[in-house]
C-alpha cells in the first residue's frame, strides 16, 4: 500500500482509461463505497466511548473522553466538544510523528464541523453548573492504516464512538461543587451526520477512493448530511477547481451515498445495543 503514495504516469493513465470505460480498480462503481466494518466500544474499560472503523483498507480508531471543565464565556450553559486527529507513522510510512500537520488539522476540523453543525449532541445536556462546570468531550482519532478517503472514515468512526459513549452522572454537593459518581448514562445522539467526499479525477467523479485514486485526484469536496437530507458541512480541498454547475449534482450524488453509510452505521449500532450494551 505504501507504494501507492507515488503513482506513476502509466498507472495514472491506466486508472483514467478504466474510468473512461466506467470502471475502477477493484471493480467498484464510481459511486460505490468499499465494505465497512465497525468494532464498537473497542476500548471498553477506559474510554467513555470508542470505535474502530474499517473502510476497505482504511482503518481509524476514535475514542471519546469526558472531563469536567469550565464552559466558554460566550456559551456558559453549553458543554464543549473538541476533535483531534493524528496521522502517525503507524498508518503510513509517509506520515511523520510530531505535532499535527495541516492535513491532520483539516481532517479533525471537517469531522468536527459535521458533528457540531448537525447539532447531533445537545450541548445543553452537557452543562452541570451554568457558567462553571460543563462536560468537555474530547473526540480523538488515530488513523491506523491509510488507504484513501480518511475524512469519511473519520466521521463514521467518531459517530460510532459517540454512539457508544456513556458519561458519568454528577451530583452537586452542599458546597455547590460537582461530585462525579460511578453510575453512567448513555449520551443521546439527536442526529447521525455522515460525510461523503467526492473526488474529481479529470472529468470523472468518484467516491471512497483507494490511496492510488486519491493521489491522482485533482480536488475533492466533502459534504456532511443529516438524516433529514440537510447539508450540514462542506469542504473543498486540493488545488483543483470546481465548476459552479457541478456543485448540486455532486451534492445529490453524495446525498445518496450518505444514506448507505448511515444505514451501515445504524445497523452496527443496533447490533451493538442488542448485545445488551
Amino acid at each position: 500500500m505504501s507504494d501507492d503514495y507515488v503513482v506513476s504516469e502509466i498507472e495514472k493513465d491506466y486508472i483514467l482509461t478504466l474510468l473512461d470505460q466506467g470502471k475502477r480498480i477493484g471493480g467498484r462503481e464510481k459511486q460505490e463505497h468499499r465494505p465497512i466494518k465497525f468494532e464498537l466500544n473497542f476500548v471498553e474499560t477506559k474510554a467513555e466511548g470508542s470505535a474502530i472503523v474499517t473502510l476497505g483498507e482504511t482503518k481509524i480508531i476514535a475514542g471519546v473522553k469526558a472531563t469536567l471543565g469550565s464552559p466558554f464565556p460566550d456559551t456558559p450553559d453549553s458543554g464543549v466538544i473538541t476533535t483531534s486527529a493524528e496521522l502517525s507513522p503507524i498508518a503510513s510510512p509517509y506520515y511523520e510523528s510530531g505535532p499535527p500537520g495541516d492535513d491532520a488539522i483539516e481532517l479533525a476540523r471537517v469531522t468536527d464541523r459535521a458533528i457540531r453543525e448537525s447539532h447531533c449532541i445537545d450541548l445543553s445536556k452537557l452543562c452541570i453548573v451554568p457558567g462553571k462546570y460543563v462536560w468537555i468531550l474530547f473526540i480523538d482519532m488515530y488513523v491506523l492504516n491509510a488507504d484513501g478517503n480518511l475524512i469519511d472514515a473519520a466521521t463514521l468512526a467518531s459517530l460510532a464512538a459517540l454512539s457508544t459513549t456513556k458519561i458519568p452522572k454528577v451530583k452537586i454537593n452542599e458546597e455547590g461543587e460537582p461530585e462525579v459518581l460511578d453510575e453512567k448514562e448513555v449520551l443521546e445522539l439527536d442526529h447521525y451526520p455522515v460525510t461523503v467526499t467526492s473526488y474529481k479525477i479529470g472529468k470523472h467523479r468518484i467516491i471512497d477512493p483507494i490511496l492510488k485514486e486519491e493521489r491522482i485526484a485533482d480536488c475533492r469536496i466533502t459534504f456532511g448530511f443529516d438524516e433529514e437530507e440537510h447539508i450540514v458541512s462542506a469542504q473543498k480541498g486540493g488545488i483543483g477547481v470546481l465548476k459552479p454547475d457541478e456543485l448540486v449534482p455532486i451534492a445529490k450524488e453524495c446525498l445518496e451515498v450518505s444514506k448507505s453509510y448511515r444505514a451501515e452505521l445504524l445497523k452496527a449500532i443496533e447490533e451493538f445495543k442488542k448485545k445488551g450494551n
Binding site: 488539522i105 459534504f223 443529516d226 447539508i231 469542504q235 473543498k236 483543483g240
Partner: protein, 393 residues
C-alpha cells in the same frame, strides 16, 4: 459556529438586515494595493469593518530546500489574526482554525497561479487580520489574490472571495459578524469571474440542497462585484505611477549628465508600463499574449540601450523621446516606437555589433526608485530570515 437562527436579524417589513443592507448587497468594500514597501506585492482590504492586510513575496528561494517541488512553485499562505482583532484577545499562537484557513486559501490560490513557471521556488503570502468582522477568510482570499497581482505573479485569473449564508431562513450575501454568529449557516466561496471556477468552498450550518444552490448563486454574483473592485484597485495604482512620472522627465532631461541614468530611467518606466499591461491582461486571463508583449518590449528596449551605450548623443536623444512619450501614452506606443527605433538603428547595429561584442553586453541596472515593487527577484536577507523564523514557528 452557526447559531440556531432564532435571533431576528432581518426586518420582516422592509427585508433589511441589521446594518440596513438588502439580502443581496455587499458591505462597502475597498481595496488598496502596494501599501507595503518591502513586500513584492501587497493589498489592504476594507470589507465592512474587516481590515485585512496581505503581503506577497516571491517567487523566491525556498528554505528548507527539501520542501521544494521539482516541477512547480510551492504556494505557502499564512493567515493570522492579530490578538486585538477580535472581541476577546486572541492568543498569538496560530490556532487550528488559522491553520485550516491558511490551507484552504493556499489551495485556492494554487489553482490560479502559474506555479509551473517557477519550479523549486516558493511564493509566500502573509495575511494579517487587523480587525475582524465576519467573513475574514473570504476578504483575506480577495486581498491575497490582489496582492499576488500587485506582485506581478502570473495567474490564470483573479479569485474573489465572498460568503453567502442563511439568516432567519433567508439566503443573504456577505455575512457580517453578528449574522455569522447568530445566523444558521455560512458558505464562504472563492470564485474567479473570468474562469467561472470555484476554488474555495466551505460550509457550516444547516442547508437544504435548494438553499445551498441559491446561496452559491448569490455568492457568485457577489464575487463578480468584488472582482470589479479588485480590478479598479490595481488600475488605480498604475494610474498613480503614470501620474508620478508625467511631471518628471523634463528635469532629468536638463541635467543630462549621465546617459546611463536616463536610460535606466526610461527602462524603469517602460517596465512599469509593461507591468501594468501585464496585470490588465492577467485580469482578462490572456496570459499568453501578455507574456509575448511583455517579453518583446523588454528585449527591444534592452537592445536600444545597448546600442546607446556605445554610440553617441544621437541615439541618446532618441531614447529620451521614448521615455517622454511613454510617460504620457499607453504602453503600446512604447513598443511601436521601440520598433521604429530598431529599424532606424538596424543599419548602425551591424557595425556596432562587433564593437558591442568586444565591449561585452552589460545589462543596465534597474536602480529605479519608483514605487513599483514588481521585480520578483528582490530578496533582501532580512525578509529571508523572517521567513525562516516563520517556518520554524
Amino acid at each position: 459556529m452557526a447559531g440556531d437562527g432564532s435571533v431576528k436579524l432581518i426586518d420582516e417589513k422592509t427585508g433589511k438586515r441589521t446594518d440596513g443592507r438588502k439580502f443581496n448587497e455587499l458591505r462597502p468594500t475597498k481595496i488598496e494595493v502596494g501599501v507595503l514597501n518591502n513586500a513584492d506585492g501587497s493589498a489592504l482590504i476594507y470589507m465592512g469593518n474587516n481590515k485585512i492586510l496581505a503581503a506577497v513575496y516571491g517567487p523566491r528561494e525556498l528554505h528548507p530546500k527539501h520542501l521544494a517541488l521539482p516541477d512547480r512553485a510551492l504556494v505557502q499562505c499564512y493567515y493570522r489574526m492579530s490578538t486585538f482583532s477580535v472581541a476577546e484577545r486572541k492568543s498569538p499562537a496560530p490556532s487550528r482554525r488559522e491553520r485550516e484557513i491558511s490551507k484552504v486559501i493556499s489551495d485556492a490560490l494554487n489553482s490560479v497561479i502559474l506555479t509551473k513557471d517557477f519550479p523549486r521556488t516558493t511564493i509566500d503570502i502573509y495575511i494579517q487580520v487587523l480587525q475582524a468582522d465576519g467573513g475574514t477568510r473570504c476578504a483575506s482570499l480577495t486581498a491575497a489574490c490582489t496582492a499576488l497581482a500587485d506582485a506581478g505573479i502570473p495567474m490564470r485569473g483573479i479569485i474573489s472571495g465572498v460568503a453567502a449564508g442563511l439568516v432567519n431562513d433567508t439566503v443573504v450575501l456577505d455575512l457580517h459578524d453578528i449574522e455569522d454568529q447568530k445566523g444558521s449557516g455560512d458558505i464562504p466561496i472563492g470564485y474567479s469571474a473570468t474562469l467561472d471556477e470555484i476554488s474555495l468552498l466551505q460550509l457550516d450550518g444547516v442547508f437544504t440542497i435548494e438553499q445551498f444552490e441559491e446561496a452559491v448563486k448569490l455568492a457568485i454574483e457577489g464575487a463578480k462585484q468584488i472582482y470589479e473592485i479588485q480590478k479598479e484597485a490595481l488600475r488605480e495604482k498604475y494610474a498613480q505611477i503614470r501620474a508620478e512620472f508625467a511631471g518628471e522627465p523634463e528635469e532629468e532631461e536638463a541635467e543630462e549628465e549621465d546617459t546611463m541614468e536616463i536610460v535606466s530611467q526610461s527602462l524603469a518606466e517602460s517596465e512599469a508600463s509593461v507591468d501594468e499591461t501585464a496585470i490588465d491582461e492577467a485580469v482578462a486571463s490572456e496570459e499568453t499574449e501578455e507574456k509575448k508583449t511583455g517579453e518583446k518590449t523588454t528585449i527591444e528596449i534592452e537592445e536600444v540601450s545597448e546600442v546607446e551605450e556605445v554610440s553617441e548623443v544621437e541615439e541618446v536623444s532618441e531614447v529620451e523621446e521614448v521615455s517622454e512619450v511613454e510617460t504620457d501614452e499607453h504602453q503600446d506606443l512604447v513598443s511601436d516606437i521601440a520598433e521604429e527605433l530598431n529599424e532606424e538603428l538596424d543599419e548602425d547595429e551591424k557595425e556596432l555589433e562587433k564593437e558591442l561584442n568586444s565591449l561585452g553586453t552589460e545589462k543596465p541596472e534597474e536602480n529605479d526608485d519608483t514605487t513599483t515593487t514588481n521585480t520578483t527577484e528582490s530578496e533582501d536577507d532580512e525578509t529571508e530570515h523572517e521567513e525562516i523564523n516563520d517556518l520554524e514557528e
